[in-house]
Structures are given as C-alpha cells and as structure tokens.
Symmetry: C2
Subunit: 509 residues, 2 copies
C-alpha cells in the first residue's frame, strides 16, 4: 500500500510539473495571440520591425519549452502512469505536438519561415502583375521544403496526408477525400440545376451605399442579438476579418465596405461563431488543451453554423430585418423574403472563392485540394498549375478564368506554405450541417427560436456537446458523441438540396 | 598574433551569444508591455484572469533568462575581455540587473508580489472609508518585506538607498536628498510670497464644460503641433494616462473630463514628452540597453520639459490658442495671457499631489520622501504616518488635511510597495529645467520657435544630447555631457523664480 501510494504521489508530482510546463507554453502562445491581434488591429504602421522580433522570441521560447528533454521525460513517465481521463487527454495532445516539433530540424523550420516571408511579397507582386511565372520558383521551393518537412515527421506516409494533419490532426485524409469527392459529385449537378432553373430570385435587396459608422452600429446589433458576451469580447475592424483569443477574451473583427452591407453582416456572424466557440471553452481548462478549441474543421463548423444555418435562414431575416431598417431606413421596402433570397443567391460566373455562395464554395475548395495534393505528391508540376486550375474551373463550375490573378493566384495560403489547409473549410461546412441537424433532432425545429431571436437552446446544445469539451476528445470522438455518427456529408447535402431546391423551384430536388 | 585573434574571435562569439540572450529578454519584456497596454486600454473587463497568467509567465521567463547561470558566466567572461564602449555599456547595465535579481530569493519576490496584490484593494478600501487603520497592517508588512529585500541586495547599505536605486540606479541618494532639501528651502518662502501677493491672475480661462470628442480632437491637434510621429504611435484613453512602448511604437494615452480641458491638454503634452523620448531612442539599439531609455528621472525630465517649459509657457498659448478656439468657439474671448495665467495658477489650499502646480508639487514630494525614508529606516512607525503627514503639510504648505483620504492615503504607490519612487518626480522637473537651460544656452532663446510652433531645434537638441544615447552613459554622465554640469536645482529655481516672480509681481524675486 505504502509503495502504491508513494508511486501515485510521484505521478501526481510529475503531472503537476508537466501541467505547469504546458500552462507556461499556452500562456506564451496566448501572449503571441494578443500581439498578433494588436498588429492587425491597432499597431502603428511602422511598428513591424519590433513586433516581428517580439513574436519570433515568443515562438522560439514556446518551441524550446515544448521540445526540451524534460518535456519528453515527463511525457514518457506519465504515459506509463495511471492517469485520469482528462489528464490522459492533455498528455495525448502534448505528445502529438512534441513528436512533430522534435522531429523537424530547427534549420528546416527556419528555412521554411524565411521562404514564406519572402514568398508573400512575391505572390502579391505576381498577383498584381497577373504573372504566375513570378511566383512559380518560390512555390516550387515551398513545395520542396514542405515535402522535406513531411518526410521528417513520417518518412513512410503520404506527404500530403502529413501536411493535412498539421491542420486537422484526427480526421483521416481518406475521410476528408471521401467527403470532398461526395461534395463534388452531388454539388456539380445541383449547381447545374440551379443555373438552369428559371426562378427569379431577388438579388439586390442590399444594393446601395451604406455608411461605415452605421454598418458598425448594425454589426454590434447583430452581435447583441446573437448573445455575444461583451464582457469577454470586443469588435474592431481589420483588413482581413478574424477572431482570436481565449475563453476570457475572445475578440471579433470585421470590415465594412460601402457597397457590401450584406457581406459585413455575414462576416460578423461568421466571426461571432468562432468567438462564441472560444467563449464556450471551460474557464478551468484555461492553459491546457482541455481549455483549447479542437482544430480547424471544428472551429470552422462553428462559424459556418452561425453564418449559414442561422444567418442565411429565412427566420433570421424575419427577425433581424426590422433592426437593420432602424439603422438603414432605405431598407424599408425590402421584405424578409427578398433579404433571404439575396443572402442565398447562387452565382453562375463567380471565379473567386471568398465571394462564393454556399454551393459553389465547395467546388472552389475541391479544386484547390486536388491541385495541392497532386503538387505535394509530385503528380503535378508547378508550371502546370495554371492550366490544371483553369481546366478544373471549366469542368466543375463551367467558367474559365482569363487571368492567373483571378485564377490560381487569388488565395494567399500557398504563399504561407499552407498546403492541406483548404479542405478544412469544406469539412467545417459539412460538420456544421451535421451538428445543426443533431441539435434539431434533440431540440426540435429551431426556426421559431431564430424567428424570436432566442438562441439559448441552440447555443446551450453547442456548449454542452462541443464547446465545453475543449480538446478532451479527438475530433472523431467529439463528432460521434455529439451527433451519434461519424463525419458525413449527408446532412449538408440534405440541407442544401432542400434549401436551394425550394429557393430555385427545382422539381427533382 | 594568431592567439590574439583567436581570443578576440572567442570574445566576439561570447558577445554575440550574450547579446542574443539580452535581446530575447528585451523582447519578452516588450511583449509584456503590449499586454499591459492592452489591459489598460482595450481588454474586455473579464479578461483579467487569463491576462494575469500571461503576464506572470512572461515575467518568470524574463527572470529565468536573466538569472540563468549562462548569463553569469557570459558576464564574467565579457568583463575580462576588451570590449568596445557600447558593448561595455550593455554589459554594465545587464550586470546591474543580474546582480540584483540573483541576490533576492524568488520566494521573497513572490511574497512581495502577493502582498502587493492584496495591498491594492486594502488601500482602496481604506481610502474609500477614510480609515488609515485598515491599511496600516498591510503597509507594515510591505515595509518589512521591502527592508528584507534591500538587505538581500546590500546588507551594508541604507535600505532606503537600495530601494531608491531600483528606480534611479545611478543618482546617489545623497544627491537626491541635497536637491530635495534645496527645493524645500527655496520653495517654501517663494510659495509664501506668491500666496501673500495681491496679484490678480486670471484663473478661469478654461472654466466650462467641454465635449469629450472635441477634447480628443484637440488632443490630436496638440500632438500634431508638437510633431508626434503617428506612424509610430497612437492616442487612446485610459483611466490613468500613461505612455509606453518602444522606438518603433510609442503610444500615448490621456483622459478627458468634461470640466477639465486644461488638464487633458497638459496631460497629453506630458505623455507626449515620454513617448517622444522613446521615439528618439536609436532603432539599431532596439533589444539592448543602447535602445532603452535611461531611468525614471530622465524619463520624467522629458515629460516635464514638454509639459511645463513648453506647454505652460506664454508663447505656447500665443501659438496654440487659435487651434483650441477652432475646436471650442467658447474660448473666443480668452486671451493668450489669460490662458497662460490659468495654466500657471499657484494654489494656496491644495492637498492633492496630482492637482498641484509647478511650485507646490515639490513640497508634496518632499513630504512623501521624508516619510517613506524614515519608515524604511525604522525612524517612523507606520501608526504615526498620518500625524507626521499632516504636520508636514501644515509646516511646508500651510494646510492640514482633515482626513486620511485626502492625506496619506491619496497615492497608490506605497500599496505597490514602491518606496523610493516619489523623489524621481522632482528630480525629473529639476533635470527638465537644467536640460532646457542648456538647450537655450546652445540654441538661443526658444520663445520665438514655440510661438511659431516650430519644435525642430529643441527636439533636435534633445535627440542629440539625450535620446539617441539610450543607456550608453550612466545618468550622471549623460547629464554632465548634455549640460556641462552635474545635477543641480539651480536652473529649476531660476526658472520658477523668474516665471512666478513675474506672474505674481514679486519684488524680491
């Protein structure tokens, strides 16, 4: 007995030391988050040289704390001990990061970091000049470096799978591929049917020019109406809207364009979804994976659920339009139905991902996914990217970009070396629909709630089934527990088929 | 030769390793600065628990980096090498901090930190209840802990001297005492004469109610007119105005009260002085003491120089009043002379330090200095503080506080455990006058420049003689080089005697 107790006390001590280390790493990383928010939102223009050094110091400190021998020793010791479920989850998450960060040589990390620093202006310049050739050598270099990076992590695995798992550690690439293929197969004919329909939707309910200050006031109304906790958040503007922070302080940014009121509303709701997830993480988990959000797909499921299932729904516009009219009396003659139709217009000639609708969006993603996967696997040469891109746009979306600027140079991601990131956007939408369907299975139809601006039941369900768990469960476990099934495109396809079938009067749908 | 070269290369390597460590510490500390700015200015109310942990993690990391054995070894090695002047200055500054931080046991540091965390609400409560007894036990504890702290640093020194040197490392306490005594001796009769004079100054030029937004616009006008670099700065509001940052990003905060337009203008100019010093530090010194400001007295000399020698001067109001009238047409009938007089009114019954004028201010400081010095030395018991305080107010300023709230409980400093901080306020004013006089010696009378809103020559002189040196020289060296003499109250006393003698029509002055 005494020996058992002594062993158990030693394990407690080790876990305490381990947790202290984990908390310190989290705090350094959260400090970086504040510095990044500051840089995007309030930092004076010329602050960059100092900020870059500060961020780089914090990042080096995090890396050194995580990859230190002590971390490895504590991990081994704890993996041999009897741990509580929550403790085991923390150990599992840290082990994963530890293994990845210790397997990649620091020189390679630095080379990638330098190359992406230079790749960004090269990409920007190439896009401005509409000249892929200018970007090609840098892209080539990044592809090589990221292949090398993947090989260090797992020499036996498909390198694209390794890169994908940087963003989505627990969803198999096979699952992701299956979902994306399914989306392509089902959405291409659905979009064709929409484009062939002679439905006459209102598309200009939000046409006009809208003052920035009034847009900001309305964005605050939106956040009020969704129940954003201002005691733990704030709203600012940023060139590329984002949300960041912790459960104690989860901030939203948005942007206002004079001729795009609808865009500012949907973007604000999207970022609310991210922040609302962060705010639902348990306070007591702060500093460990138990208080951190699951990965990109789950995060995106939260933003998409609120943006699309709530913010692009008919009852939402029935509820919210009167508020919008108070800020913008020119909307007096717009009906909720017209607003709903305008918020759900499917484009037939759009080339740009970030301007896409709920349907075509996923074909934009499928195209990027197929191209980057083939690039990393060596099945596609960098020089052939523009043609492959344009061919796929023609095949899947029926439009062919005339320039690289509105083709394969449109997105920033590859210049960051982010290969494997894009699929998480579609997985997020798919999961959003799956979660929303599960919530309605349990709570009943939510339309009445939305029409009354009452989001308590929906948010309570999300808190209970997703948010409060942090990283306690792996993503497949979390999905299975919340929805009773594994990740599937079915609910998403049912949702869009029913919604757009009705909107566009499609008989076969 | 070969050996010399090898030795010199080894020294270069050591210096490079040392500098990298120093830069990392500076970057962590500057990151903390951003987190603190964020907390004061933009953080949501409920963000505190996470922010406290982030700041504490960064502070622990800085401490560990500074006090690590490697730092000590590098210091010893470098102190035995031939270093360039700048390198030697960096080593000197780091050595000083290293010695102090390694000599105080971490448990004591933590105990002080915990005690001050609790002391702050106790002080606040005591002040609200106007009951010194509530604060006395905490103050007693803090005095003991700080004495213990001082003893660890230098068991043979006067403990107050040790504490003072935390804020002002290179000015002898003896020098500070001499200056403060001189101020007391000369200012008491000058203030008496002012109070006895029958001069009829305008004191209500800025009476009225002034809109916050317009005050903010005017604060921006002030900063524009002084030449604040908006590319490296910004203006926000905070409950207790401060300035913080680095040469790449030095921010100003201010506050607006409806009935105190003059206060917001002078406070903005004061904080500009601090930020302008920071912005004058050399870019290439960023991350080492060569790119950091000298200590509190020098920093305060910069804020006071701009606030008092510029912002409370007659030519400033001749220049700036038209701008103020554009924002506030109700100032139409105010003359520059009336504005000047109102900005320089000497109070005869003011008990509150932060509301004091340029003359009585220093007696408020002298009183705090004498009391805290005696407390730390054990020559005054905590319980006797209120009476000692009130007696001194009566003796030096001719007013006796009727309550502790407007007496010895008015300032926050002691609840922070900051004993030895107060003197630097007066030393700052004294040095401001000394620097301003030296600038005028070289550049000629600056009134015409100020009247034209041309601050280039003055600021150029400050950049050249103070700012660009960072911590290259010790404070006495910096003062001697800039002004040709050691720190002296003469220029300050000449300045106030001449200014207030003229304003109040004093014959003997």
């Amino acid at each position: 007995m005494a020996t058992d107790q002594a062993q158990s006390e030693a394990a407690d001590d080790s876990y305490a030391a381990f947790e202290e280390r984990v908390r310190r790493i989290a705090n350094v990383s959260n400090a970086s988050g504040i510095l990044q928010w500051d840089q995007e939102v309030v930092m004076p223009d010329e602050g960059t040289p100092a900020r870059a050094q500060q961020l780089s110091a914090l990042s080096a400190i995090s890396h050194e704390l995580l990859t230190a021998d002590e971390t490895g020793e504590l991990l081994e010791e704890l993996e041999d001990s009897d741990l509580e479920e929550d403790q085991a989850a923390v150990v599992r998450e840290v082990r994963r990061k530890y293994d990845r960060e210790t397997s990649v040589p620091q020189e390679l990390v630095e080379e990638i970091s330098e190359t992406t620093t230079n790749a960004h202006p090269a990409w920007k310049q190439a896009k401005e000049n509409d000249d892929f050739e200018e970007f090609a050598p840098v892209l080539e270099k990044l592809v090589e470096l990221k292949r090398e990076y993947a090989e260090h992590i797992d020499p036996d695995a498909d390198p694209y799978e390794v890169l994908f798992s940087d963003y989505e550690p627990y969803i198999d690439l096979e699952t992701a591929e299956r979902v994306l293929e399914r989306l392509r197969e089902e959405l291409v004919p659905l979009i064709d049917a929409v484009q062939d329909s002679d439905a006459d939707l209102t598309t200009d309910a939000f046409a006009g020019e809208f003052d920035d200050d009034d847009q900001e006031a309305l964005a605050r109304d939106v956040l009020d109406s969704l129940g954003y906790d201002w005691g733990r958040g704030r709203l600012d503007t940023a060139p590329h809207p984002f949300s960041s922070g912790t459960q104690f302080d989860a901030r939203v940014t948005t942007r206002f364009e004079e001729d795009d009121l609808l865009g500012s509303i949907t973007s604000t709701i999207h970022e609310f979804g991210h922040a609302n997830y962060t705010l639902g993480l348990p306070d007591e988990g702060y500093g460990t994976p138990l208080g951190e959000a699951r990965d990109l797909s789950v995060h995106e499921s939260q933003s998409r659920l609120w943006e699309n299932h709530v913010g692009r729904s008919r009852p939402f516009w029935e509820q919210f339009l009167p508020t919008a009219r108070e800020r913008f009396p020119e909307l007096e003659d717009v009906s909720p139905e017209a607003a709903y139709e305008s918020a759900n217009q499917v484009y037939d000639d759009n080339l740009i991902r970030v301007e896409a609708d709920e349907l075509t969006y996923h074909l934009h993603i499928v195209i990027r996914f197929e191209i980057e996967r083939d690039l990393i696997r060596g099945d596609l040469a960098v020089d052939d990217v523009p043609e492959a891109w344009n061919d796929k746009y023609e095949e899947y979306l029926g439009v062919r970009p005339e320039t690289d600027a509105e083709g394969c140079l449109q997105d920033i991601h590859w210049s960051h070396g982010s290969f494997g990131y894009f699929p998480t956007y579609s997985l997020g939408s798919v999961l959003a629909a799956q979660l929303y369907a599960a919530a309605e299975d349990e709570l009943g139809d939510l339309d009445d709630d939305i029409r009354e601006g009452d989001f308590e039941a929906l948010n309570g369900w999300l808190r209970e089934n997703v948010h409060r768990h942090g990283k306690r469960y792996t993503t497949p476990e979390l999905i299975e527990r919340a929805t009773g099934r594994e990740l599937t495109a079915d609910p998403f396809l049912e949702y869009v088929t029913s919604k757009y079938g009705e909107l566009y009067g499609l008989e076969d749908y």
